[in-house]
Symmetry: C2
Subunit: 317 residues, 2 copies
């Protein structure tokens, strides 16, 4: 096994296409427009890595009927993806998206998600310590379920560092803020899909992003990636700060999954011997390549290589 | 085993309470307002019978993840309910009801339901022939999935009659119309929740109901129950026709499940030795008793006995 992917709050993503979806009425979903796929950022990263032929173990919490469906669907992904979840009593999250292509609405119904008991969390920490010794890289990505402390990313990283493993994070500000009080990852990528907040402050100007990135490097991260206005990134290492831009126009409606592709491609690139800025460039190229089409499939290697030529890397500090 | 309950198109009923449910928005369902229960009329009858201490086998088609959840939930009902489903590849029906108690809306999302292959249907007919020999009574209730002929009730009744079993039906007009071309049940109850149609014709006047009921008796049924204006019933036997009415006001919002209670209580009453009009009276009393409260639980035996005094049985022919 090369990678341990941690998804503390996985989900079953369900998609119903109902044209003319109406309140207070009986709506029928045709079978061919009724889909379910494994979800949650850590799950997505594990699935993408296994598609890039990287043997990956996926861990976190699953429970109930929804958890069983999730694990069964993950088993279908292929032999390179292994799951080692801690089983809980509550139901795993179920995220229903009702797409109406007639009225152009997207109505979402998400379950509240499970509550993780102290006991289950302790069990998970022990499981993590066993699994982490089997791999080269640890990636922790996505939300934290109720009952698990926001500092969990830091606690897990402390354990991983005991065994000298490389650690990647992608998470929202609240998780990062609490977790870096305990430990810093090697690669820190902010998930800014819902807010532009860094360490509790809303950022606006480019300079603010540059300073924030430098600050994380000073405090212990080796590579920091802060997305800026959705399609740009500020990337910092000990050597400096760079701004990444695409050389062509990005279709914003195809952005879904590009963050997970970014992280997965960085890990792929790292395992192939690239470091620091080159690793980030590879991840960014993959994320940009992902915006050229719809769907969950990761971009082909050739497409990533080609896209490397279509991105601009400017030193800003 | 005493009863074989047939539910050709079972469902998993899911209930989400979302106050302020809004289109084109992310809606969260709190865990305690997210429920799932086995559904489909034949399933409901089997569950009710087992709660009345009658050992019951439930058969029909189940498939996929939803089918697995349904069977697991049915296993929790108790030791008196046994399932013997034919497993299919398609997913069992999933019926989602989104209740908004703030805006007083009920938005339903139903899956299209499975398609039954010829092979699965043939397998089911063989299974049915084995199971039917183990019981005294057969009850067939509810819709017919795609791929199964509307005459299926008739085909199954032919097999049951070969072994001299008593047969109960509750179904909609299209199924009854096609099925009685092949065989008549002993007890025929019309499901008129969605239309007042009998043998393809919309009925209005009491006389029309009386004549329709007599016609079914003439052609082979021993007991016929046609509901009239939701809360009344016309009941026919070889001896005559009666009109059943409640002596008190019925809360229409509590009618859910009263049809299944009616059928179950008739079977209960038959197994205890009652016949014909008395059996129908017992079923009607149970259905009326069921309208006194909300929820899926069947009425207690004492409540049914008490309600027998609160119904009016008038001879109309």
């Amino acid at each position: 096994m090369k990678v341990l992917a941690v998804c503390l709050n996985p989900a079953l993503d369900r998609e119903f296409v109902i044209n003319g979806f109406t309140l207070n009425k009986l709506n029928i979903v045709p079978n061919e427009l009724n889909r379910m796929t494994p979800g949650g950022k850590g799950v997505n990263v594990a699935v993408i890595l296994s598609k890039y032929n990287i043997p990956t173990i996926l861990t976190g919490f699953v429970g109930g009927y929804v958890g069983n469906v999730l694990v069964s669907e993950l088993r279908k992904v292929g032999p390179l993806l292994t799951t080692s979840f801690v089983h809980i009593r509550d139901e795993t999250r179920e995220n229903i998206a009702i797409e109406d292509t007639l009225n152009h609405t997207l109505t979402e119904i998400n379950s509240e998600g499970p509550f993780i008991t102290n006991e289950a969390y302790e069990l998970f920490l022990k499981r993590f310590e066993v699994l982490v010794q089997k791999v080269k890289v640890v990636v922790i990505s996505g939300s934290v379920p109720r009952g698990v402390p926001l500092s969990a990313y830091g606690e897990l990283t402390n354990i991983a560092k005991k065994y000298g493993k490389m650690v990647f994070w992608e998470a929202r500000d609240e998780i990062i803020t609490e977790s870096i009080k305990i430990a810093f990852p090697d690669v820190l990528k902010y998930d800014m899909r819902r807010s532009e907040k860094i360490l509790g402050t809303y950022l606006e100007r480019e300079e603010e992003y540059i300073n924030a990135a430098k600050e994380f490097i000073k405090r212990g991260a080796k590579l920091v990636i802060l997305s800026y206005k959705t399609i740009f990134d500020f990337v910092a290492t000990a050597e400096g700060v760079w701004k990444f831009s695409p050389k062509f126009e990005i279709d914003h409606s195809f952005l879904l999954g590009s963050g997970d592709t970014f992280v997965s491609a960085m890990i792929l690139s790292h395992l192939e011997g690239r470091c620091c800025l080159d690793m980030a460039r590879y991840g960014y190229a993959a994320a940009v390549a992902k915006t050229k089409y719809l769907g969950k499939e990761p971009p082909k290697r050739e497409d990533i290589e080609k896209t490397l030529e279509a991105i601009l890397v400017e030193r800003v500090e």
